[in-house]
């Protein structure tokens, strides 16, 4: 991958890639692996981009797919990876952010189902219900209901510290 490709096509979207990878990993090591794999997949699949959507939407979808695939692979090797229980040492390592609230929110997001994580990330990135619905082949109404449920679950996971 040339540094030009990285600078032009990946770096402007590195923020969302980082946010997605963080939501699907528990350790810094995994996070770096996932991030690198997403970048590599973007480079590998760049010729498949057909301009039917924005480059950023395409990058987002690809990043989620790569994370889900890697998670699936990992699940085959390690049990309880995405369960409600995180081993203490992993929980400790997951505090990758200086902002404590954000760290707690990420811990809660990681306890959601894989698809719910993807949906809430899009919602938090201020994508419209319509855009999210298109990404997941659903209706805007369904997405709205789902987001409401996800937020309630997050609220419970954060022990009511949020409204």
């Amino acid at each position: 991958m040339s540094s030009d490709f990285y600078t032009t096509y990946i770096q402007p979207h590195s923020g969302i890639i980082i946010k997605i990878c963080r939501a699907y990993t528990n350790t810094q090591e995994d996070f770096e692996d996932y991030y690198q794999e997403v970048c590599l997949q973007i480079w590998r699949s760049k010729d498949n981009f057909q301009q039917k959507s924005d480059w950023s939407t395409w990058v987002y979808r690809l990043a989620v797919n790569v994370c889900l695939t890697l998670l699936k692979k990992k699940k085959n090797n390690v049990q309880n990876f995405a369960s409600d229980y995180l081993p203490p040492e992993m929980e400790e390592e997951s505090k990758a952010f200086q902002d404590e609230d954000l760290s707690l929110l990420y811990d809660a997001i990681r306890k959601l189902s894989e698809i719910d994580r993807a949906i809430i990330l899009l919602y938090l990135e201020e994508k419209s219900y319509q855009e999210i619905a298109e990404t997941f082949n659903a209706t805007s109404n369904n997405i709205g209901v789902r987001i409401k449920r996800i937020k309630e679950r997050l609220k419970k996971l954060l022990h009511g510290k949020v409204n």
Binding site: S2, I18, F97, D101
Partner: protein, 211 residues
């Protein structure tokens, strides 16, 4: 005051340090090491399987009263294990401090060398398996019947000439096509890994060329 998840999200990412991307380097470092480690595991299992399987001919030889033949077959299979172990030692000694590309190329070189070595051994082992299996069956089940049915002029060492010729032709063919048979066998066990290795090397070379 309670916060919303939206505000936590926004506030958390105001701090740009939270969005520092990891460096894209040594992309394949872990991958190549994991790949070789997995191959080593599979290769070891394979050697163990051959090692255990090699007791079979010995046991059958004992039961069928052809212990000598069974032993030859077992020993030849154990030699395959011995050769594999020797090669495994070399593989474990590959220099991991090199770049991932060098490491995977070293592995590829080792693989080619090992396959060549095994092909040479199998040129003898495949025919040997055929000859000894035939001899075992002949000695255990057919010998007496053949001697009773055939006149001695059509037998060599108590074996029908035609049968001997067929086994000889089979042995020669097995020796000639040993490489193809061995490749077929290897592809059954390691086919997907070989494919992955080729893809990985091609991709790494492409990445290097673009840099």
């Amino acid at each position: 005051m309670e916060k919303s998840i939206e505000s936590i999200w926004k506030k958390g990412f105001i701090n740009q340090e939270a969005l520092v991307a990891p460096k894209i380097n040594a992309l394949y470092e872990k991958k190549s090491i994991n790949f070789v480690d997995k191959f080593i595991r599979d290769f070891k299992i394979n050697l163990w399987a051959i090692g255990v399987f090699a007791f079979g001919p010995l046991f059958l030889g004992l039961v069928g009263n052809v212990l000598g033949l069974g032993m030859i077959l077992s020993l030849s299979l154990w030699y395959l294990v011995y050769y594999g172990q020797k090669k495994l030692k070399v593989l474990k000694g590959l220099e991991k401090t090199n770049t991932s590309y060098d490491y995977i190329k070293q592995f590829d070189g080792w693989l080619k060398n090992t396959i060549n070595g095994y092909t040479k051994i199998y040129r003898f082992v495949y025919p040997l398996v055929l000859i000894i299996s035939t001899l075992c069956v002949w000695e255990t089940f057919l010998k007496q019947e053949i001697i009773n049915h055939y006149d001695s002029a059509s037998l060599i060492w108590g074996i029908p000439k035609m049968g001997l010729i067929m086994v000889a032709i089979g042995a020669v063919l097995l020796s000639v096509f040993a490489r193809k048979i061995y490749y077929f066998d290897m592809n059954l066990v390691y086919g997907s890994q070989f494919k992955k290795l080729r893809e990985m090397i091609a991709e790494m070379e492409e990445l290097r060329n673009e840099e």
